[in-house]
Subunit: 394 residues, 2 copies
């Protein structure tokens, strides 16, 4: 096997494994079945668009992790994982793929039994896109000597504080998303079909910036205009950009699967007064929130400071205003751990990276001005220097 | 509520619902909880990148379907679903989102109880990316008067035979993917960084073709070269294109969420003899397979004809050589129903659309020459006229 172009040193993977095993030990787990593709990549280096079939990385309490997946993807595993032992990559027969007659988890259960890992406590990621209800059923039925334990988020939480290499990749992703927003300002014109602008955004994102190539973001550009921008998650079609309506662009740059999301809002000509007032409120509330985003505080402190200022200035936001980001695969660039919202008591630590996301959806459009930040001992540091405010083009 | 820019007539949605209810009736179901985003879109028209949080369309045996999801996505639902009744869109509070303390399925269970749908047989899509093991657990615990029944694929199978409008969208997607391959031949040069070529591919895909805009494909371009092309599902980085190695491009054009996948392989200068022999074998075997892809035959007839010819010519393929395609969302552009493989006894019918996918992964690279086909009474019709064979550029 040859690992080409590795994203991290072996030492970094072993440090991640040690950290994860410490938590497994604390919970009394003997084996962890990792099915979240981001967690699989973080532990093993595996990188391929194969998560539409069942696959996993198995992490026992000693020895190397095992990549398990569709046989044809074993070749991609051999090209990307840090493990060099042949026994660390196990493929299942293609007849298991999307075949109502059999299920890949039958093959995984056999592998677990073969390795003698079938009698203890086994952690599974119960609330993950890539661990279906049926997968759990089949595994439970075939591993009756084991106790399956919900370990959703166990690995995700180990990822919260980033290493220097990870921060460097997010920094590169930051220069890419900054370039994507520059391209919007350069290219957007009234009358331009939205998909033409999105084509330019994609092009800029994959070309990369400052000598660093662009990877695919875990979410495509969200780029609604006017009434469609009252909704947060619509994508695009070919209707033209128009004067007199808001256009928001929620994007991420990506490099080696690490993300830096950032959103901005564009108007042709002067924005209506309500948008200017909302902009002022959001920017002031954002400063109040960012001031709380420092080591020792809680995630809810950021949300409470943000919301207090926002409300004082006459606006309301009833959804969270941020979440942890980093390594990711579709459908989500978030890490699904901490959020900036009331009640989230997670302690903020240096090295955490979050998307501060104070979007407002107004009656006739949306306003999104967001920043991805690094927590440092000196407080929150944005990854980008994109001008913070509504983009206005004449 | 206003449905803007609808993809289909109300009549088409009602026909789909009638077809689905007939199957629900056959299985004795009172309610179907649809969580596959493709199925949600097919039944209701809903289109948004919100499937990273729990959401569903509820289909009872009478009345309109109900879209259920995160409150903030209700606005996107109101912009895209065909239903016009306010009670057809129900949102849950943002505090349920990715919060280990509570689960959105608690809110769904309450809704089902409120509507009086909690006592009969309820179908759930047990083996779907967007119905997690935890989701099923929570729903089971909160709906103890109901019988939850595995209905994976129930809606997917109703989608197998396409309407004229759906076929038209796939045709448009076909002209887009054809343009994407033209761009590869136009732009690819030895020494070009792979991500630069992928940026051009994305740009062409979103720009669209023949006046039809490009939507995002459910899978990003897979574009490996050389040894990386021995693996089917690697994406890209910035290493340069080189003479003397194979480059394959597995792509889809997309229009209004409908896909037309197509793959081709590119060499700079004459391909090695083994690739020419593999090309001849694949093309001849493909003709043999396509000849069997006609109404009344079984899916396995296509695979058996393909494999018999391929083996006779000295090559082997141990994975399926095709699958059903159409409307889709990440992570898969397949419909996850029928496959061209031994043992798949699905009867082929006019109006079905499949990706005939006879890829070979050789010792030092890959060969992919594939076609998306429409089944007609006269046999298989490819959607594209892209030249069928290895692309050679000097």
């Amino acid at each position: 096997m040859t690992t080409t172009n590795p994203n991290f040193t072996d030492a970094e993977y072993y440090a991640r494994i040690a950290k994860t095993r410490a938590e497994m030990d604390r919970r009394g787990l003997d084996l962890l079945i990792i099915t979240d593709p981001s967690n699989m990549a973080w532990i093993s280096g595996y990188d391929g668009w194969s998560f539409y079939v069942h696959q996993a990385v198995l992490l026992p309490m000693s020895g190397e992790p095992v990549w398990w997946g569709r046989a044809m993807d074993g070749a991609g595993a051999a090209r990307t994982v840090f493990m060099r032992d042949d026994a660390s990559i196990v493929g299942y027969d293609d007849s298991y793929v999307q075949n109502p007659q059999k299920h890949p988890m039958e093959a995984l259960a056999s592998l677990i039994i073969d390795r003698g890992w079938n009698t203890g406590w086994i952690g599974v990621e119960m609330d993950n896109y890539y661990y279906s209800a049926r997968a759990h059923d089949v595994l439970t039925n075939h591993l009756h000597e084991a106790n399956l334990n919900d370990s959703t988020g166990l690995v995700n939480w180990q990822r919260a504080v980033k290493s220097d290499s990870e921060i460097e990749y997010i920094r590169r992703a930051g220069s890419i998303v900054q370039r994507m927003h520059e391209v919007i300002v350069e290219r957007a014109e009234p009358g331009m079909a939205k998909n033409e602008l999105v084509a330019e955004i994609f092009h800029a994102g994959i070309m990369g910036a400052e000598g660093h190539w662009g990877d695919y973001p875990a979410i495509v550009p969200m780029a609604p205009s006017g009434m469609d921008a009252t909704a947060p998650h619509l994508t695009w079609d070919d209707r033209p950009l128009r004067r007199g309506e808001s256009n928001f662009f929620e994007l991420a740059g990506a490099h080696r699967r690490y993300h830096c999301p950032q959103s901005r809002t564009l108007f042709f000509g002067p924005p209506p007064d309500i948008y200017r007032r909302a902009e002022n409120a959001v920017l002031e509330a954002m400063e109040a929130g960012l001031a709380q985003a420092r080591p020792g505080n809680r995630c809810e402190d950021v949300a409470n400071a943000f919301n207090a200022t926002l409300n004082k200035l006459g606006f309301e936001k009833d959804s969270r205003c941020g979440y942890s980001i980093g390594l990711s695969y579709p459908p989500d660039w978030g890490e699904r751990t901490m959020s900036f919202r009331r009640g989230d008591m997670t302690e903020i630590k240096a090295g955490m990276t979050l998307h501060f996301m104070p979007a407002l959806w107004l009656e006739d459009g949306g306003l999104e001005i967001t920043e991805t930040i690094l927590i440092t001992d000196a407080g929150a540091q944005p990854f980008c220097t994109t001008p913070r405010g509504i983009f206005v083009k004449d």
